[in-house]
């Protein structure tokens, strides 16, 4: 059938409409490569079989990919008069369930993931309802536009993908296909076509973003009897597959775009350069071209307009560089795919020396819509300088992976969090790599940035083809840069020196950095070389190749420095630098695999000794540590992380009950020489006591001065007893004392004695670890009233009074951190009837530990989220309420979180009689530091180097007084670092080796070939919530010996290296398990 007139087109449309929307049930399977890879062919075959077996009168069809990649394979069912239902993650086994539901005239609700009540014909601006003649829709399955992945999308290029059979030209025509071509050829001059495209603000979607209208105009104006148009379908960026999706799902949109372009430019031949690794795309394109020829859209005298045009397919052999236009043309011509210098530009001298216009798949697919709806219509989307939409393939560490088409100018945060659904497993967003190996990364500080060609360039990234790789905090940015550089280095054509040799040299430098062989000056060399490669290379590949390196250095330079200077990979990725991810992540560097595997062997004494080697507070940390180690545990890739904290507690509690053998003390003492200088420590918190402990192990006899009547600092007066019983804390304080530490409580340094006086009395070094014991102010009216209390003051008073404290009946706690939760749960235990936590962001953003929040909620504490206090209301001096404002989340701030903004006219009152503020603490260092001349940071914390040295040589500091409120384990680590620094200072020896810093694998057996044990993480026993409120009994019980051994065997032993294999004894952990 040759189509010459609008009437002919109408006839084809009728055929297509009947096949798109038949009068009987239609089942469609998404069968693009992505669907096939997920098993769509088996699903299709099963459907074919079952339909046949059940003698169902349904039509079965194939469609392209709708872009919902994380739920493939997808099957859509369209029953006339009913909504179209999408079934996700289909398998052959699930097919009967869907068909049985269909036979019952029902939906298989368990499998259904989305519904559509109609679809839109974008070309003609019309909508077709599926519900006509039916009984209405169903509300049980969410509409596509209610789904995160789809609700903010605007699908112009992807208009037909997943809706039509890519091998049916009639279905394409039924959705307005080739109407734009008809209009262009019959009623627009070539110049008018170019004008519309220029007006649309369309820029090249291949990455460089050259204005498409201008490119067409230049090629049209070029002298030449023969001109060409080319479609660049050599999609090759790792992680980018939108072009493939369009070619496989809607090939005619590209062909129609090319014919319109050829008309505008005056070309008679076109080429689609598609990589041979896309066999399905090639097959579908071949069919589509044939069909277009049969219908007369390609060939001679198209639509009777006198225009002749043909399209050829040219298959690329997979060289990345052939995506570069001059290399691409060389490849079509049959020459080596090497770029050549420009000028001359292809618009002047391109394929076979003739004027040539190259656009990529996505650009061409936009053209029919622009011509059908007009450039102005198209340009209402996007930004002023860049109209329309862009498809991103969102991949990596993100919940909703898939193809996302959004208006240009949409913010990165919007794509990652709203459409992408955020980061899986509660991890944090670290950066997005845009534009593949030619692009750069964008860190969380810039989530707010509108994605546009120019803004991305300013940030050191590029739009590129639209690959968007999302990285969570488990990604090492140095390794990421190395990965991409390795890619371009292999794909460099090798013609010009900067690209060929330069990328190789950069790769060598990056490799040595990730292997722990980095040198000072490497970062500077990478920058210098990278800039030169960009400036000097011949083509776009080399001119962009250093981008991933330069942008990761720009935003994550500290990570490079950690690799080079500290031989540390902060993300725990680089194998040569990481003993095990848990150990790497622990601020104190505890040898987790060692003590876990000792527990697995029933060797509890050794387990405890391993812990004590880096941490004098195993019972404390076993209860209250925020366990960053568990967040990095690789076991979570199978099920859940090993309960590392619980195991630490078990080892400590078990050995405390057994009695710690005195031999441990001897073994922990590295030096027994008592002739060391005197050292004074100010503050008996975790930092001070840790510093004292490590000094004692080095043979010092340090004296700790504590202002309060008890030792332990925040552990004693900050953390409530239901989390950390006093006798548990005291047992560890006593242990430290036994190691040779003297603690003098009730001495306020700064008041009773000054630091210079201590120095004069022979304390040759002094460590300050005074904590952060002063609460931040709310800065709202009424906060100075009686009944408005600060969290740290409150908790301290509760602890020191032995839980004899007045609380209100209805208490409001302001804040979202651990202190807020501690205060709320304490207030409840002291008899408050109702406790409400007021927090200005959402629960997801609360800095408190997840488990703490869950426990608090279980105990009946209310969360008022997205609320901020505005004023404390009082009457006759008594508090009557807390006036609050509702908040909503606005734009992303530089912390990568959405900034809360007040909602207008949202004032409301919480009926409370006590308000406790828990919005943060600051160190209170007067009069302690008066006259010392110590340099402070702007927030009042003490300035130190990474080992705790202050600006006064004999004074060292660590813990909250340096960092602001932080975790126990960070304070312990700071104490250890300062102890080493003090020893180096006093012994005038910087090269001394500190034995506990050498992390060694344990001599426990491990079989790397064995399957990991199959069971899940241990569950701890907790006091029932109603039993908790009556007092301060510890909530969480220690696990049993058997449970601990079992749990320990879940460890995957990331510390294991092949070289160890010979040393493994025959015994296995199963023996210990049997004993337990």
């Amino acid at each position: 059938m040759r189509i010459k007139t609008l009437e002919d087109l109408e006839k084809a449309r009728e055929i297509g409409t009947r096949s798109l929307y038949p009068s009987k049930t239609k089942i469609m399977v998404g069968m693009a490569t992505c669907g096939l890879a997920a098993g769509a062919q088996q699903v299709y075959d099963a459907l074919l079989d079952e339909i046949d077996k059940r003698e169902l009168d349904v039509s079965l069809g194939q469609v392209g990919c709708i872009g919902w990649c994380c739920r493939e394979p997808l099957v859509d069912v369209l029953v006339p008069g009913k909504p179209r239902i999408t079934y996700g993650e289909m398998t052959a086994q699930k097919v009967p369930e869907v068909l049985e539901a269909l036979a019952r005239d029902e939906i298989a609700k368990e499998l259904a993931i989305g519904r559509l009540d109609g679809d839109e014909n974008l070309i003609e601006g019309t909508r077709r309802s599926y519900l006509a003649g039916g009984t209405g829709t169903t509300n049980t399955i969410p509409l596509y536009k209610e789904l995160d992945l789809f609700k903010n999308q605007l699908r112009i290029v992807l208009r037909n993908c997943g809706f039509i059979d890519p091998k049916s030209i009639d279905e394409y025509i039924a959705r307005g296909g080739y109407l734009a071509l008809y209009n262009a050829l019959t009623s627009l001059s070539p110049e008018e076509v170019i004008d519309e495209v220029a007006k649309s603000g369309l820029r090249g979607r291949g990455g460089a973003g050259f204005p498409t209208g201008l490119k067409w105009k230049l090629t049209r104006q070029a002298q030449g009897d023969v001109k060409y148009v080319i479609c660049n379908a050599d999609e090759g960026d790792p992680g980018a597959y939108m072009d493939r999706s369009v070619l496989e799902g809607d090939p005619h949109s590209v062909i129609e775009g090319m014919i319109i372009g050829a008309y505008a430019i005056g070309a008679t031949e076109g080429y689609i350069y598609v990589r041979a690794e896309y066999p399905l795309a090639v097959e579908i394109l071949t069919t589509a071209i044939q069909q277009a020829e049969e219908y007369g859209f390609l060939g001679e005298n198209i639509f009777g307009s006198g225009m002749d045009f043909r399209i050829h397919i040219s298959k690329g052999a997979g060289a990345f560089v052939c995506g570069e236009e001059t290399a691409l043309m060389a490849s079509i011509e049959g020459r080596t795919g090497e770029p050549r210098p420009r000028p001359p530009f292809p618009s002047q001298s391109g394929l076979w020396g003739k004027p040539t216009n190259i656009n990529n798949v996505e650009t061409w697919a936009n053209v029919p819509v622009i011509i059908a709806r007009g450039g102005d219509w198209y340009h209402q989307f996007g930004t002023e300088r860049s109209g329309g939409t862009k498809i991103f393939s969102v991949v990596g560490n993100i919940n909703n992976t898939g193809l996302v088409e959004v208006p240009i100018g949409t913010s990165l945060g919007n794509i990652v969090f709203d459409i992408g659904g955020g980061i899986p497993k509660g991890k944090k967003f670290k950066a997005a790599q845009l534009g593949g190996p030619s692009g750069g990364c964008i860190p969380k500080e810039h989530l707010n940035v509108p994605i546009d060609y120019t803004t991305l360039q300013e940030l050191g990234a590029i739009m590129g083809s639209g690959g968007m790789v999302i990285c969570d905090d488990d990604t090492c940015m140095v390794e990421l840069a190395r990965f991409f550089l390795n890619f371009v280095q292999e794909e460099s054509c090798g013609k010009c020196v900067p690209c060929r040799v330069g990328t190789k040299v950069m790769l060598e430098v990056l490799t040595r950095i990730t292997e722990g062989q980095g040198q000072e000056g490497d970062i500077e060399y990478l920058i210098e070389l990278g800039e030169e490669i960009k400036r000097s290379s011949l083509c776009g590949l080399g001119q962009t190749a250093p981008n991933p390196v330069l942008s990761t250095i720009r935003y994550f330079r500290d990570e490079y420095e950690a690799h080079i200077r500290d031989k540390r990979c902060p993300a725990g990725v680089c194998q040569d630098l990481v003993y095990a991810p848990c150990q790497n992540e622990c601020p104190a560097g505890q040898n987790v695999p060692a003590y876990v595997s000792f527990i697995g062997e029933g060797r509890f004494e050794e387990a405890l000794e391993v812990i004590l080697d880096r941490n004098p507070f195993p019972s404390v940390c076993g209860r209250v540590c925020d366990h960053p180690c568990e967040a990095k545990c690789r076991r979570s890739q199978i099920d859940d992380p090993v309960a590392i904290r619980e195991l630490e507690r078990f080892a400590a509690d078990y050995m405390a009950a057994e009695g710690i053998p005195s031999a441990i003390y001897d073994r922990l003492r590295a030096e027994t020489d008592g002739q060391k200088p005197k050292v004074a420590i100010v503050g008996a918190g975790p930092a001070g006591l840790s510093c004292a402990y490590f000094l004692a192990r080095l043979g010092y006899r340090p004296t700790v001065f504590e202002k309060l009547p008890v030792a332990g600092g925040m552990l004693a007066v900050g953390i409530p007893e239901y989390r950390l019983p006093k006798d548990v804390l005291n047992r560890e304080v006593e242990f430290i004392e036994k190691m040779g530490v003297e603690i003098r409580t009730g001495v306020s340094v700064g008041e009773d004695v000054t630091i210079p006086e201590l120095y004069q009395r022979g304390h040759e070094a002094i460590f300050i670890g005074v904590g952060a014991h002063r609460g931040r102010k709310l800065n709202i009216p009424g906060e100075n009233l009686d009944g408005v209390v600060d969290a740290v003051d409150f908790l301290r008073a509760v602890a020191l009074s032995g839980h004899r404290m007045w609380v209100g009946h209805r208490v409001a706690v302001v804040g979202g951190g651990n202190a807020a939760i501690d205060v709320a749960r304490t207030a409840l235990r002291l008899g408050a009837d109702e406790v409400t936590i007021v927090y200005r962001r959402t629960r997801n953003e609360m800095p408190a530990q997840r488990s703490e929040i869950e426990d608090a909620v279980a105990e009946g504490i209310k969360l008022e989220l997205l609320v901020t206090p505005a004023q404390v209301i009082s009457q006759n001096g008594a508090i009557k309420g807390l006036e609050c404002l509702r908040m909503r989340l606005g734009e992303f701030d530089r912390s990568g979180r959405r900034r809360p903004e007040p909602v207008e006219d949202s004032r409301f009152r919480l009926d409370v009689d006590m308000v406790i503020s828990a919005i943060g603490q600051i160190p209170d260092t007067t009069p302690l530091l008066n006259g010392l001349g110590l340099e402070l940071d702007r927030d009042g914390t003490i300035k130190v180097d990474k080992d705790g040295r202050t600006t006064v040589p004999y004074i060292f500091a660590g813990g909250d007084a340096v960092t602001g409120p932080a975790t126990v384990i960070q304070a312990i680590a700071a104490g250890e670092r300062a102890a080493v620094a003090i020893d180096q200072y006093l012994s005038k020896n910087n090269s001394k080796v500190y034995l506990w810093r050498e992390t060694k694998s344990p001599d426990t057996p491990f079989d790397p070939e064995a399957e990991p044990v199959p069971y899940g993480r241990l569950e701890t026993t907790k006091l029932a919530p109603d039993e908790r409120q009556s007092g301060f009994a510890e909530v969480e019980e220690v696990c049993t010996r058997k449970a601990a051994v079992q749990e320990a065997l879940r460890c995957l032993r990331c510390d294991y290296r092949e070289e160890q294999a010979a040393e493994v004894p025959a015994e296995t952990g199963v023996l210990a398990l049997a004993e337990a």
Binding site: R340, P341, E491, P498, R500, V501, K504, S536
Partner: protein
């Protein structure tokens, strides 16, 4: 004629000249490695880069291919150009610091040692041999194969090419001595590309070799009066 400013000198040059040609004709020296007057320019070594003033910022272009444009302002020895050339030479030194030609360039730029060393290689992939074989000899017996650092000059499938006529043009044009001839005893000679030839000695200088085949061709051509 086209007006162009090179290193502050206002010049008038005929249309169609590259910047390199215009500069050399006017006595301005620009270093090159992959350029040869007798061959199509290739723009691969990037040693001939010059700074072209542009808005909003200058750019580096390969002078061997970049045409003289009306009103262009070009610098052949600016800081930007020198930095780029230094980098290029240092990169070439990574594999070829032992080549006298590279040593000479390094000395000119004051580079003692490259910061990173790669596997040693005599060939700098300037492509002169390949272009000479194609454009001058007209046989394309050798070409560049593979990509990136694996790129090398080879006959097809790395076996002796039947198209090679043993003319030694590649040997002659090679700037680094990477392409060699081996005398395996009169009157045979093995070519770098594993082709061996019966050769004849020049009757006058005694130095140069040529395989008998082209001699026959020449004799035929002379006889035909070409």
């Amino acid at each position: 004629m086209i007006n162009i400013t090179i290193d502050g000198r206002k010049l008038q040059v005929p249309e169609g000249l590259t910047i390199l040609e215009a500069a050399r004709e006017n006595g301005i020296e620009i270093p090159t490695l992959c350029y040869h007057e007798a061959l199509e320019p290739y723009a691969a070594c990037r040693l001939c880069v010059v700074e072209l003033e542009r808005e909003p910022k200058s750019q580096l272009v390969a002078s061997c291919v970049y045409p003289c444009e009306e009103g262009a302002v070009v610098h052949t020895d600016s800081e930007m150009v020198r930095r780029s050339r230094r980098t290029t030479v240092e990169l070439l030194m990574a594999s070829s610091a032992h080549i006298p030609l590279i040593q000479e360039l390094a000395a000119q730029m004051g580079i003692a040692e490259p910061r990173v060393r790669l596997e040693s290689n005599d060939c700098i992939l300037c492509g002169l041999c390949v272009r000479a074989c194609k454009e001058i000899v007209g046989v394309s017996a050798i070409s560049l194969v593979n990509r990136g650092v694996d790129k090398k000059v080879k006959p097809p499938f790395e076996i002796a090419s039947r198209d090679c006529i043993g003319c030694s043009t590649c040997v002659f044009v090679c700037p680094t001595g990477a392409i060699k001839l081996e005398d395996i005893g009169e009157p045979k000679l093995v070519h770098h590309w594993a082709s061996d030839f019966q050769v004849v000695q020049c009757r006058i200088c005694g130095d140069h070799y040529l395989s008998p085949e082209p001699i026959t061709d020449y004799e035929r051509l002379f006889a035909e009066g070409a």
